[in-house]
Subunit: 361 residues, 2 copies
Amino acid sequence: MKTVQVSLGDRSYEILIESGLLSQVGELLEHRGIHPTIFLISNSRVFELYGEDLLRQLSDRGCQVNEIIIPDGEQHKNLKTVEQIYTDLLSHRADRSSTVIALGGGVTGDIAGFAAATLLRGIPYIQIPTTLLAQVDSSVGGKTGVNHPLGKNMIGAFHQPDLVCIDTDTLSTLPAREFQSGLYEVVKYGLICDPEFFEFFETHLEDIRNQVADILGEVIRRCCEIKAEITSQDEKEKDLRRILNFGHTFGHALEAATQYQEFTHGEAIAWGMLVETHLSRLQGFLDGATSKRIIQTVRSIGSLPPIDSVSIESLMEAMKRDKKHQGDRIIFVLLKDIGTTVITGDIKGELLTEAWEQTTR
Amino acid sequence: MKTVQVSLGDRSYEILIESGLLSQVGELLEHRGIHPTIFLISNSRVFELYGEDLLRQLSDRGCQVNEIIIPDGEQHKNLKTVEQIYTDLLSHRADRSSTVIALGGGVTGDIAGFAAATLLRGIPYIQIPTTLLAQVDSSVGGKTGVNHPLGKNMIGAFHQPDLVCIDTDTLSTLPAREFQSGLYEVVKYGLICDPEFFEFFETHLEDIRNQVADILGEVIRRCCEIKAEITSQDEKEKDLRRILNFGHTFGHALEAATQYQEFTHGEAIAWGMLVETHLSRLQGFLDGATSKRIIQTVRSIGSLPPIDSVSIESLMEAMKRDKKHQGDRIIFVLLKDIGTTVITGDIKGELLTEAWEQTTR
């Protein structure tokens, strides 16, 4: 089993990664001192695949397990769903020794994590992410939250899980589009801080896309390790953690401007990385050859839904509303090289338009 | 000006206490590096008394101040009010450099603090408590939250303010019943950890009740100091902080069993301290003379609404639902002496009934 340690003082925890790990979760929790009352939060699709087996493993070990099925999809990532979870938790007498298990993708993890963060001012939770995006990104680092009609992830809290269990086998049931979407966050880790990992990704892309177990496991491990290192050093996103937002200033705006209907998060980030790579070159941070190499690799992951129908004006508007802005300045994470970032709030609107045009051209 | 330091690493902050402090808030914030965007959250009654002057002080110093008026009263301390605040904050483009100022009593502070804790995963906030209860208790320590239909303060987060400004003059406009209610939390501090302060309270009760400025200021300062010491050592209520719950196991149950309609929080805690003092004696922790002295002092603060109509059964039921229980055990903070507590989860139901009967007799 691969293990990544997230070092955060008394909030430290482990990320366990293995093919077939889901069948060992009961045993693992027993070994770690099982909590008597468990709330398994999942959506119906994921619960159907893995829920019953997990319930059985836990109740066989004397746990009282309550399942809470929440609706699937970003449109349900809101306070209404959280309130439903609060009511379920409290009516089954959750207390501070109860544990929430979030079984599913990023939406499930974010919602369940926020409910756990804010019930009784914080109860323990365990993440079992079942999508690539959740495994390499949202399940690690303690960001939890939901959307508000005025913006994505506007409501939230930092709340570290007690444990993250990643079963790479769950990816085999993932729709191809979702798997591909996760790969964009994977390549991002190489771009922001690890040139060797970027090269590994470039040269092993076929095996990764075909989910060759060893290669995929190693890729996920390295992503978790990078995210763990970054969040260990900067839990609350005051500084270093912001580099994780490469591609996200523009990507979030693209999602918002299309009402989260046209692109998956990963696809929006892919477009964001393309524009922000152009921007890095136009701003004079990145040379032409490196920029070309990055764009080629991002594009070779797969085809992306077109962005022709989106206007740069609507994106500018959305960026100003995003929570990464500071006063009137829009903050960008740009690249100086593969593996080296620069954070800037001084990008001129014209340059952004130029980068956008070069990307869509 | 009296200053109490709350030491919590990079979340440390000061509590400033002075008669007339409200008229200096603008200057104080300017001196400390004023934030450009401020959201003043208050209820209409308190805003009418102090709001306009505060707005003027801040806008005179170049701040953009938005006021958010929320409904008054415990029945509005819920997620609906928080959602209204989120919408106000986001529609006025609050960002991570914006500051929320909570001006009012405990309800306002808890709600505004929770909104600040969970907007964009936490933005800065300043507490300006205007009730005695808020000044000596809820504004210090970083507990924020709202009620759920299934229980009080069930939804919440720890979020430390950047500053607490206490103007003791605001107490002169406080209804007598609310002032008296705050005094119960004051005497609690002596009981749980400071025999000298308890004695000071006993001997100066008349001056305190008459709001003699020097005495009252010193009393508030000492309460803040005690709470600051305790929360500095145990921010997340894992251990030491639990002693603050003396009188609260029973007190919270009394509030819940009467649907928060019959007692103020302080009055419920007063009854709770009386029952739990009896309980401490019956359990053999406290001698008879000390128990008598405590009961006499609590009673001499003023008359309490009767509890004859409440049944011990309804209280037991409410205690089991409270967030302080652990599994099936109800946790009590009891007294071994004035200033010395003992935490126990091993109180028999019969003893509780006996303590209840001795209190109501």
